[in-house]
């Protein structure tokens, strides 16, 4: 049984993963911005769980000043957490980000700088108690510079880079870092886009991630076909990438 701090459990893949955790008896503490939504998610997880009710606290990825207090609250509620899962992030299409510079800056801060800051805070706490698991959702968008994900992809590339380094540096001290790179997954966040080939559903992705957390697999692509897709894309010559639209 894990004691999990979960950032992003209200929607999409975070919703599916937190459900699997609650259903098998993991203890959860939810963090997020919208306390009403968090309350509904906590109730859903409590009904699915094995008796214990799920609590929640406030955390806004746009306000790093609050990170310490949020993790203190989680620690107090869980009696010292051993696992941190972050699925929350911002997403927008490249057109939107090119048009709206303020929004682009917010996205870069939230997805990269502030997520790293939150991981750093959690890392220190976990290392102080002998280790634990840090599982963070990055994206296949960070694997190669591509036209439709120039800004979003850059934020995720930075995050993936950081997570890999963390795993190399602290694995020996007991901190397991897991970087999840979802391909296109059909959730509320991607509902306005037409699903490309190999689009996945959140539930199988959640099951894969849960296995990776238990086994300590440092990098997973979900659905796994995206490992091959991205392998091909990473090896495509620049001249080709400049021509194609994806």
């Amino acid at each position: 049984m894990r004691k999990v701090v979960f950032v992003g459990a209200t929607k999409g893949m975070g919703r599916a993963l937190s459900r699997r955790m609650a259903e098998r008896g993991d203890r959860l503490f939810l963090l997020g911005r919208d306390s009403e939504e968090l309350g509904k998610a906590a109730t859903d997880l409590s009904v699915r769980g094995k008796g214990e009710s799920v609590a929640h606290g406030a955390l806004d990825l746009e306000s790093p000043d609050g990170f310490d207090a949020a993790l203190d609250a989680a620690d107090a509620a869980l009696g010292g957490f051993d696992t941190v899962v972050i699925t929350a992030a911002m997403f927008a299409t490249q057109e939107k980000l090119e048009e709206d510079a303020d929004f682009a800056l917010r996205l870069l801060r939230v997805n990269f700088a502030h997520t790293v800051a939150l991981c750093e805070n959690a890392r220190k706490r976990l290392l102080a108690r002998g280790g634990g698991t840090l599982c963070v959702f990055s994206s296949v968008a960070g694997d190669r510079g591509r036209k439709p994900v120039a800004i979003y992809g850059a934020s995720k590339a930075g995050l993936s880079h950081y997570l890999e380094s963390l795993d190399h540096k602290f694995r020996a001290q007991g901190l397991v870092t897991i970087c999840v790179k979802p391909g296109f997954v059909k959730t509320g966040a991607t509902a306005h886009l037409s699903p490309p080939p190999f689009a996945g559903e959140p539930e199988p992705v959640a099951e894969m991630v849960l296995r990776a957390i238990d086994r300590g697999t440092p990098l997973i692509y979900a659905p796994s076909i995206w490992r091959l897709v991205m392998l091909a894309i990473r090896h495509m010559p620049r001249a080709v990438m400049r021509k194609v639209g994806f």
């Binding site: 911005r33 009904v47 990825l61 927008a92 509320g188 966040a189 037409s194």
Partner: protein, 449 residues
């Protein structure tokens, strides 16, 4: 972190693979996605046009992402959840706790809202009725955008018009429903080969007295003494002593690829399939513990089985109930179907118990027959002829399956339509909530005025 509902222009498909351009509104917040919307849709398992927009390119709210549990009381079995929750999730979460819905359709790929809107029935109809009997309350968004609760006691007219009302009385946002407490999550089942439809119907009546669940599959291609030979399945929840100690696990699914030619299903392959299906049950009788998924949802293991009709191939299911009293009627129905050339891959027969309280609820006491028909130039004629027979017998058809029935035929079958329309008009004078089916059958205007 994107919270607001999003709209996507595309094409929505019904289970019979008929489709219509539509703007699909998707999102986790069910109150937000239904605001200003003319129609809600769940997992799209209705065969015909019930979950397609009234107008080409019209918007439809898909509720499947709104699937949170709100409460469950293990004492009373009362479940409260958002309308997009799928029956498959209820199976996964509650079956290991020895609770399940008292009435289930033949697939678990349906949402709570869809189950209420079609007032679904299943193998347990003769003992447990339709799902409407077990619903305790509905939270709805009405045509005037107000959000209200209705129950069998409060706003009862609206409640019963919504049960079986195909989503035309309002958007179902949340459902409170009583789950049945089970002795174990496994099924004790008995199946037997039956030589013809006449014997089969006698056996359905007989087994109904002692078995809470039953259904039969029949071979529609056999004739003479063997007309309508089939396999009768009866069952009940297994007692703890009979069942394995572990709860059943959901089985993995294989997804059918969309690669088949449209001629794959033809009179010859249908005859072969029906023959093999009958003789696959080589023992005269089998009895024992079976997996509930195999018992309730044999076709769910093959995801997207509707692709067997081939690329671009469309089909419908004709389901009717013929009232109690004339046991010859189903036999005549089958003969008529054969004479019309209505080759069917899979035909299901079930005895129904008393009619439910839903204003437009489908089942009534008698025999229900459901048969798959490929859509082609002949199909409208077949459906018209079958409808004429059903009208003469005093029966009716099931809206969740229908695609081709003519409005005059439906009105002749179901005098309750008038009462249903009165309730609709009271809560929605402009008939703002509508579907392709309501335009076809109830004469709703296709364009919003």
């Amino acid at each position: 972190m994107s919270g607001s509902p999003t709209k996507r222009d595309g094409v929505l498909e019904a289970w019979g693979r008929v489709s219509r351009p539509a703007a699909e509104v998707l999102g986790e917040d069910i109150e937000a996605i239904t605001e200003g919307s003319p129609l809600s849709r769940g997992l799209g398992r209705s065969y015909g046009d019930s979950a397609l927009p009234a107008r080409i390119g019209g918007s439809v709210s898909t509720t499947t992402l709104a699937d949170r549990l709100i409460a469950f009381d293990p004492e009373s079995g009362e479940l409260h959840a958002e309308a997009g929750l799928s029956l498959r999730e209820i199976f996964r979460i509650f079956l290991p706790r020895n609770f399940y819905v008292a009435s289930t359709p033949g697939t678990s790929f349906v949402t709570l809202g869809g189950m209420v809107a079609a007032d679904v029935h299943g193998k347990s109809h003769h003992s447990a009725g339709t799902i409407g009997r077990h619903v305790l309350g509905l939270k709805m968004r009405l045509a005037d955008e107000s959000i209200v609760w209705c129950t069998p006691q409060e706003r009862s007219e609206l409640f019963w018009a919504t049960v079986g009302g195909m989503g035309l009385t309002g958007h179902i946002l949340e459902v409170r429903m009583r789950l049945e407490r089970l002795p174990s999550p496994w099924i004790w089942s008995r199946s037997e080969r039956v030589p013809n439809l006449k014997v089969l119907i006698a056996k359905l009546h007989e087994t109904a007295k002692t078995w809470p669940m039953s259904v039969a599959w029949i071979d529609t291609t056999s004739t003479g003494d063997k007309l309508g030979r089939g396999i009768l399945d009866v069952g009940r929840w297994a007692e703890p002593g009979e069942a394995p100690s572990e709860p059943p696990r959901q089985k993995p699914r294989i997804t059918m690829p969309d690669i088949f030619p449209r001629w794959l299903i033809n009179p010859v392959t249908i005859r072969m399939f029906n023959f093999l299906w009958y003789w696959k049950h080589w023992q005269p009788r089998r009895e024992g513990v079976v997996h509930p998924e195999a018992f309730f949802y044999p076709l769910d293991m093959l995801a997207r089985w509707n692709r067997a009709y081939g690329r671009g191939g469309t089909f419908t299911q004709y389901q009717c109930v013929l009232p109690m009293g004339n046991d010859e009627a189903p036999v005549e129905f089958l003969k008529l179907l054969q004479s019309l050339g209505g080759d069917s891959f899979l035909t299901v027969v079930k005895d129904c118990g008393p009619e439910g309280q839903g204003t437009l609820s489908f089942p009534r006491e008698g025999i229900s027959l459901a048969t798959d028909l490929r859509l082609g130039p002949k199909t409208q004629g077949i459906v018209d002829a079958l409808n004429a027979f059903v009208i003469a017998e005093g029966g009716r058809i099931y809206l969740a399956k229908d695609m081709l029935t003519r409005p005059a035929d439906y009105a002749a079958m179901d005098p309750r339509v008038e009462q249903f329309m009165n309730v609709r008009r009271r809560f929605d004078p402009e008939l703002r909530l509508r579907s392709a089916q309501s335009v076809r059958l109830f004469g709703d205007p296709p364009e919003v005025s």
